[in-house]
């Protein structure tokens, strides 16, 4: 089971590495969306400081949605998915491998870039680790939930928009706890509770989402 | 009885606009839903009848049992 996980993980990472330009698009989208906000709300420092956690989190959420519909599309098109489903290996293991690879290539860059962008909003330096940590806990949840949505809308016409409609309401708790962690730290109440809840959410998503995703893929390929 | 006159009833203590907008929209939505549901059934029957004729199963004919969905 672990070998399948690792094999699929390595394969997907290699494929992503060959198409590096696509990865940069997600990151660039994140940076640009974040940089648009000062133009929209004005460059007043206090205001920017106040909206920074929310802006960074919403931008991360949209960026992680951007390439989600391609998570299974390629494998669906060339028949790999069918082969994987037919194989005797448990579907959960390779689904998890694909999601982890997806997070490493799209989620992790956002986590790394976020503190730098936070500096543009003049966020207190002490809050940067909290921001990074909350994103590191939260973006995997986004990837896991998103994978379920991507599997459900696989090959459906208008799949991209549909995926956003399906998944965005489910992202709300992650957004609340993620942005809330930073705000709570800035407000002096400490971010422990928020981060614990995010961690719990991640554990729950890890336990449930791969199964739901595998079931959805099976339905899609029937 | 709560109301001195019909006009007092319609005015709802000054909040008539809000109250009647609520009830009006709800009524409109319910009527719309009922109309849609009834129309949908009629459309389905019409469409399926046309489909049956196209497939070659005439009215009153002993329609050969095509593949069952089961």
């Amino acid at each position: 089971m672990l070998t399948v996980f690792l094999a699929v993980l390595r394969r997907d990472l290699l494929l992503s590495w060959r198409g590096r330009a696509d990865l940069l698009v997600t990151l660039a989208f994140f940076v640009i969306v974040v940089c648009l906000f000062p133009f929209g709300v004005g460059a007043e420092t206090n205001q920017l400081r106040a909206i920074a956690p929310g802006v960074l989190w919403v931008a991360a959420l949209l960026a992680s949605l951007l390439s989600l519909h391609r998570l299974f599309a390629q494998d669906h098109a060339d028949g790999t998915l069918e082969q994987l489903l037919l194989s005797s290996e448990p579907a959960v293991s390779w689904v998890a491998g694909k999601v982890v690879a997806y997070w490493l290539t799209t989620g992790l860059p956002l986590v790394v870039a976020a503190p730098g962008l936070a500096l543009l909003f003049d966020v207190e330096q002490g809050a940067l680790p909290v921001l990074t940590f909350s994103l590191a806990l939260g973006t995997p949840i986004l990837a896991l939930l998103g994978a379920v949505g991507a599997a459900l809308t696989l090959g459906v016409r208008g799949g991209g928009m549909l995926l956003a409609l399906l998944i965005l309401p489910l992202y709300v708790p992650v957004l609340i706890f993620g942005a809330g962690a930073v705000e709570a730290w800035l407000g002096g109440t400490g971010a422990t509770a928020h981060l614990l809840l995010l961690g719990g959410g991640l554990a729950g998503a890890l336990a449930l989402a791969p199964w739901a995703c595998a079931a959805a893929l099976r339905i899609a390929m029937e | 009885m709560q109301w001195e006159s019909w006009s007092a009833f319609w005015q709802m203590g000054g909040a008539g606009v809000y109250v009647w907008a609520c009830y009006g929209l709800t009524l409109a939505l319910i009527v719309a839903e009922l109309v849609l549901v009834i129309r949908r059934r009629k459309d389905t029957v019409t469409r399926l009848l046309r489909w049956r004729r196209a497939v070659g199963k005439d009215v009153g004919g002993q329609g050969a049992r095509v593949e069952s969905v089961e």
Binding site: L145, V148, L152, T153, V156, R157, G158, G159, L162, L165, L166, P169, L170, V172, P173, I176, F177, G180, A184, L208, A212, A216, I219, A220, E222 | M1, Q2, F9, M12, G13, G14, A15, Y18, V19, A21, C22, Y23, L25, T26, L29, I30, E33, L34, V37, I38, R40, R41, T44, V45, L48, L49, R52, K57, V59, G60, G63, R65, E67, S68, V69
Partner: protein, 264 residues
């Protein structure tokens, strides 16, 4: 209606000793739904009339809010129904996935539009009630926000089941998203409440319900039951259309269609 014609001649209705489970077969359920739906609709109509009479003519004026509170007679039933219907939808989805019964999926899809409608009614009436009482159409209160997200969940379910053309896949994909949504509803509610207590933006306290006169409560309960009966009636009617659509290859649907065609 020619209900007799619709039943299967091999299995006369009402005589068979088998349990009510046989109604899980679309062929048995179609005439049953047709017979039951008008009764539910009539009950709903009668209860609505009685409930509105109590609500408008018997229930006293609220001493805090005046007459605006009379919106409650649709607001609260609509909010209750929208949540309840989502749960019932998820229940049928789960039954469908576990027992593999087509009718369960059809039920959950027939319920969704009505649930979304009630959800919208709850939001609309909440906004119009809010303006005169709190001075604003909308506050980002936990309950209002959860209701809004519930509406989005309904939209997602309806959009997904409509977008997938293969009914078998649409059924199962819809069932999964309904279940994922149902798991998330408590999480969403909890998170939104948490978020709301941290952001003391709105100075309106919504939790302090005004003490209700028993006639107000009676009106509200009657309207809630009416909303419930209405939902069942509409869902049953919708189920009938969906069954015809899905079972169009079978002989019994052919007979139903011929009967309908002759009646026109």
């Amino acid at each position: 209606m020619t209900n007799e014609r619709m039943t299967n001649p091999d299995n006369p209705p009402g005589r068979s000793p088998t349990s009510w489970l046989r109604f899980a077969a679309p062929q048995q359920f179609y005439p049953l739904a047709g017979r039951l739906a008008p009764w539910f609709a009539c009950t709903a109509a009668v209860l609505t009339v009685v409930g509105l009479y109590i609500g408008f003519f018997v229930a006293p004026t609220d001493f805090q809010q005046g007459e605006v509170y009379r919106v409650i007679f649709i607001h609260v039933p609509a909010a209750w129904m929208s949540m309840f219907i989502y749960l019932v939808m998820a229940f049928w989805a789960a039954v469908g996935l576990v027992m593999n019964t087509r009718l369960s999926f059809i039920m959950s899809q027939a319920l969704a539009p009505t649930g979304a409608m009630f959800c919208f009614v709850a939001l609309w009436t909440g906004a119009l009630w809010g303006k005169p009482t709190w001075g604003t159409y909308w506050v980002w209160d936990a309950r209002l926000t959860s209701q809004l997200l519930l509406l989005f969940l309904y939209f997602g379910f309806i959009a997904l089941t409509r977008a997938i053309e293969d009914p078998r896949r649409a059924d199962r994909a819809g069932a999964i998203i309904a279940l994922v949504g149902a798991v998330n509803v408590p999480i969403i509610y909890f998170s939104v409440q948490w978020w709301n207590t941290l952001h003391q933006g709105a100075s309106v306290s919504l939790t302090k319900a005004p003490s209700m006169a028993s006639t107000m409560l009676a009106g509200m309960l009657l309207m809630s039951i009416a909303a419930w009966m209405y939902s069942i009636a509409v869902a049953l009617w919708r189920v009938r259309a969906l069954i015809l659509e899905r079972e169009r290859h079978t002989e019994w649907v052919g007979e139903v269609l011929e009967a309908e065609g002759r009646a026109r």
